[in-house]
Amino acid sequence: MSQSVRTAAVLAALVAAGAAAALPAFAPAAAQHPSTSGKTRTVGVYTDYYDPPKLTLHVGDKVKWVWHSSGFALHDVYVDSGPEDFNSPTQAGGSFAHRFKKAGTFKLYCTEHPEMTMGVTVKKVRK
């Protein structure tokens, strides 16, 4: 993948993550160090959806899920399929973070709300 395409993908993922406010400071660093891993993305856990519902990141990146639901439901983040297994606590509020160590495609869902799903594509870090 060319660096510019790669940067565009990172930007797209950031915009999708609702991190637009952080973009100006973030983008140059991403452009200069395309293989840097260990970024943190934030995903909102809402009443019956994750926002964003899709995320592309790199091995070593971390995703932090932050609960924003109305408080009349419990949610979790559970791996339905993917190269590694993890799950958050089932909770009404709070947050949960996971660092992705393996490349591949993850399907995540909320075991309390089976239609509530999320896709994560984890790419290998380019040497």
């Binding site: 809402y46 009443t47 019956d48 959806y49 609960w67 639901s69 109305s70 408080g71 009349f72 439901a73 419990l74 979790d76 559970y78 799950n87 606590p89 089932t90 909770q91 009404a92 509020g93 709070g94 947050s95 869902y109 075991t111 309390e112 709300h113 089976p114 239609e115 509530m116």
Partner: protein
């Protein structure tokens, strides 16, 4: 399935009787299936509204630790009383100024806002003694992190029934006997819990294969009377004739609550509904605890009770038609079904405002 203590049931079994201090024991009960996720072959959109095990016997002075494994409460009422209601219309907080998309006032302006009683919403705190003299409750699961267990100490002998206030009919019992009398071992309790869970899972699998009970009918579920529930509409897609009444109903005796809420865009409407479905009453929560209330727009039916319902996709200006909260218990103020007629050919979509991932559609042909 809704809930999952991280431990599998087998592990939970081992924890069923924890050694206590000074000879007092603590037994463990799970509110909801003590499973992280449904086992293979059990649909993901299932739940079982039960306590595991459903009856437990302890010695006076012992405690019971309730693990919250789903969206449940533990409510021990004052002796002689039943389950506290999930919501009570509060005349002190009438609905005011609520209009539909066409600008017309909803009929339920002036009715009380459906408030969740404090014993249900907030509870009394864990670790209290219960004798039946006063009600205690866990509160609804809230706050950061996994729901905290609710521990109750039973100093006096007696037989006590407790309830989940969220799921009508979800109840179980604690029998407290004098020290020296026999109580089942932790192993025996665990075996009963495991057996109860196996039966529930078998029921779920049967419900999953049930064909729709009647034509011209959409059922939320199907669920059974014992708490086994499928969080879906069956059929999820119904075809009917223009002018033929369609019954939208709960499963008889279900422990769930649902709404049939029509909207043009159920995805967007569902997101909105869940945001506002439960919220603190304005003006509460700053000085003292908040008073939680249901959004009257979804709790009340969109049209006056007993008015014939027709739906053509333009109701209330934006295609809003709502059954209000339905349940499976004829003793509550909530109805068990509504009937809607579709005068115009078209496909109409609906969702449950309590479980917005539940959606369905009805196609009316001429």
């Amino acid at each position: 399935m809704h809930r999952k203590s991280k431990v599998a049931f087998a592990t939970a079994i081992c924890a069923f009787a924890l050694p206590g201090v000074a000879g007092a024991a603590t037994k463990v009960v799970s509110a909801g299936p003590p499973l992280k996720k449904p086992p293979a072959g059990v649909p993901k959109d299932s739940d079982i509204d039960q306590f595991y095990p459903a009856s437990i016997k302890v010695h006076a002075g012992d405690s019971v630790k309730f693990q919250i494994a789903g969206f449940h409460t533990i409510n021990f009422p004052k002796k002689g009383a039943g389950s506290p209601p999930l919501a009570v219309p509060d005349p002190a907080h009438p609905v005011t100024g609520l209009t539909d998309a066409s600008g017309a006032a909803f009929w339920f302006n002036g009715q009380g806002t459906p408030v969740i009683p404090s014993i249900v919403a907030l509870g009394t705190g864990s670790g209290k003694a219960y004798t039946g003299a006063a009600a205690i409750g866990s509160g609804i699961p809230a706050g950061s992190g996994p729901p905290k267990p609710f521990v109750v100490k039973f100093p006096k002998a007696g037989s006590f029934t407790y309830y989940c206030a969220v799921h009508p009919g979800m109840k179980a019992s604690v029998s407290v006997v004098a020290k020296g009398k026999a109580v089942p071992s932790a192993k025996a309790d665990a075996a009963r819990g495991a057996n109860q869970l196996a039966q529930g899972l078998a029921t779920i699998k049967k419900l999953d294969k049930l064909k729709p009970a009647a034509t011209q009918t959409v059922t939320a579920g199907p669920d059974d009377k014992g708490g086994a529930s499928l969080l879906r509409f069956t059929p999820s897609s119904l075809t009917t004739k223009v002018g033929t009444p369609v019954t939208l109903q709960m499963s008889p005796g279900t422990r769930e609550d649902h709404t049939f809420t029509f909207a043009k865009d159920v995805k967007a409407a569902g997101k909105l509904a869940e945001k506002t479905f439960v919220a603190p009453l304005p003006g509460t929560g700053t000085a003292g605890p908040p008073v939680l209330a249901f959004d009257p727009k979804y709790a009340y039916p969109s049209d006056p009770p007993s008015s014939p319902l027709t739906y053509d996709g333009t109701n209330h200006g934006d295609g809003f038609l709502n059954s209000g909260v339905l349940d499976g218990d004829p003793r509550t103020p909530f109805p068990q079904k509504v009937t809607v007629t579709f005068p115009t050919a078209g496909t109409y979509t609906f969702f449950c405002a309590i479980h917005p991932f539940m959606t369905g559609k009805i196609t009316a042909t001429s």
